[in-house]
């Protein structure tokens, strides 16, 4: 699951996660982040480097 807030600055980033995930399929991630108003490097790395493993783990529930 995407962390609710940025680890460094505390800005809420989880609210743009689903839109980000959909849009990066067709657009460059940097441009999507600019569009979504995520402009600090600390918040950008939260979304850029996130790997969603909850769906994989759920199979072994």
């Amino acid at each position: 699951m995407i962390p609710v807030r940025c680890f460094s600055c505390g800005k809420v980033i989880a609210n743009v996660w689903e839109e980000y995930r959909e849009r990066i399929k067709t657009e460059p991630p940097g441009k999507v982040l600019d569009d979504l108003g995520v402009d600090k490097c600390c918040c950008r790395r939260m979304l850029l480097s996130h790997v969603e493993i909850v769906d994989i783990l759920r199979r072994y529930q």
């Binding site: 940025c6 600055c9 505390g10 809420v12 609210n15 689903e18 600090k40 759920r58």
Partner: protein, 265 residues
Amino acid sequence: MKVELLELEGDRIRFLLSGATMAFANGIRRVCMAEVPCLAIDEIALYDNTSVLFDEQIALRIGLVPLKAENLDTFARPEDCECGGQGCPGCRVDFILSVEGPGMVYSRDIHFTDPGVTAAFDNIPLVVLGEGEKLVIEGFATKRIGSDHAKWNSGTLCGYKSLPSIEISGACNGCGKCVKECPRQALIQDEGGRAKATNTLNCSLCKLCIEVCEAGAVKIIPILDSFVMTAESSGEMPAKELVASASQEIRKRAVEFEAKLAELS
């Protein structure tokens, strides 16, 4: 003291504070970050959790959701409340979260008993539920400040810098190196090729232009009583309100301090 608004956009504000000391500017910054009270979910009771996340992880995620309150002033901090911290409608807002899978649980599924209180963002994914999985949580939110726990931080990015004054002396030979070097585009070349300061507010005082200038014509002096202040709220309140409540908080403390001093003398 003078305040000039430079930029205001929802949860972000930028203003020029002049005629104040650096201690005062830093005071506002610190209060914005850690002393402006707001609501956050404080304690929960999990009745059912068959999701993939542990109870503690869900508790953390729910706690970090920022809450918007229309009537924030009517709530008291638990230790200042008439009930003495026991818990009453004056210092608590109860909520219930009950979802059955399959599907994603969002912050909008948190239902508060007070209609004036809602999650600031309604699409924060909390946990994903599979077929037949259930999540039933009951709990309450309290009003506290950021120095108690980071989930009560009303301001996220708050900072200031001294307003720079960029001076170009007559020694400028019009090489244009400083204009190219400036990462913030604070310098341009005028008709004669000489460097000229254009938007000084953007200058970050990195002094790259001074280093690159062979003629030694560029001078950057921070104006010590003017500050470009930036504040960003985490969503509980608009940035304007954040700075206003920060200054009120400083005033409240100053009054308290004055009363304490009067007691002593």
